[in-house]
């Protein structure tokens, strides 16, 4: 009897809840997880180095007012990004385009301010080769800036898609995923700002 029970063991379990998560969402979070490791390692090393190096003297030369303004810009761009998603969910095409455009523009403002900071600092004689603090400063903000540029490119592609009236399910998903990335770049800055400008 038990032998036949073995042959006929055809349990039919329902699929587990992992199937309910959109594939793209797992993918984007995995990508962010590896990004956490990259930025986290850089920031962690910076913090550890800060105990054995004198970062305060060099740190006094960064333009914290500009940094604070940039934080405001990036936080606001996070709002416009999420509002773009909310608009897309309501199928409001005008608002979706408007908020995407605002996000892109705020991204450019951030880069512009950052560029201005870089030029002023380099004019004052602080380059990546000046010292350990500046190595970290340019390394980390540079890498973050590259991520901002990447985000702007993605948002521009979406903006074009929204302008060319792609179907809503196409737009919604992609705006959500692009948003996850954009907010992550914002979160990185939320930590970079106090790390480099305020301590």
């Amino acid at each position: 009897m038990s032998a036949t029970a073995d042959v006929t063991r055809t349990i039919l379990p329902e699929n587990d809840s992992i199937h309910e998560i959109a594939p793209g969402k797992i993918a984007i979070w995995w990508f962010l997880a590896s990004e956490i490791m990259v930025f986290g390692a850089l920031m962690g090393v910076f913090v550890l180095f800060s105990f054995s190096h004198d970062f305060a003297a060099d740190g006094a030369h960064v333009k914290w007012r500009l940094g604070a303004f940039n934080t405001l810009v990036l936080v606001t761009s996070s709002l416009t990004m999420i509002m773009a998603l909310a608009s897309a969910r309501k199928h409001n095409l005008t608002q979706t385009r408007m908020f995407l455009l605002a996000t892109v523009l705020l991204g450019f403002v951030f880069l512009g301010v950052k560029g201005f900071e870089y030029t002023t600092e380099i004019r004052e004689g602080f380059t990546p080769a000046t010292g350990m603090f500046w190595s970290f400063y340019f390394g980390m903000t540079g890498l973050h800036g590259l991520h901002v540029i990447g985000g702007i490119v993605v948002n521009l592609v979406l903006l074009v898609a929204a302008l060319s009236r792609k179907p809503w399910d196409f737009l919604e998903r992609r705006i959500e995923f692009a948003g996850l990335y954009w907010h992550f770049v914002d979160v990185v800055w939320i930590f970079l700002f106090p790390l480099l400008y305020l301590t």
Binding site: I18, S34, I36, V187, P194
Partner: protein, 102 residues
């Protein structure tokens, strides 16, 4: 699409929540700057500033990145690297901070 659970949140409340979160973020930014400017002992100021940053990050993660609606798997994906990083950094303290033999 059947994926995700966010669709269940009413659309109007959603937008209002996002603006409120933004306002909170701006307030926290000002709080952080205030701590920086006010004559608070450096160690305390640093701790406070990072506490504020952590709150800000949590706000963004939970609300803008919808972490509060997500499947357990997504939490694991975020938590595991964070834990590894903390462990990694702690292990490096004797070598990088105190520089054994340095």
């Amino acid at each position: 699409m059947s994926h995700g659970t966010l669709e269940s949140v009413p659309a109007d409340n959603e937008s209002r929540l996002y603006v409120i979160v933004w306002a909170l973020l701006v307030v926290l930014l000002i709080v952080g700057l205030a701590i920086f400017i006010l004559p608070i002992p450096r160690e305390a100021a640093v701790a406070l500033i990072f506490a504020v940053a952590a709150v800000k990050a949590t706000l963004v993660l939970r609300n803008y990145m919808h972490l509060k609606h997500e499947h357990l798997l997504i939490y694991i994906i975020v938590a595991v690297p964070a834990l590894f990083l903390v462990g990694f950094a702690i292990t490096l303290i004797p070598d990088i901070v105190f520089r054994h033999g340095g």
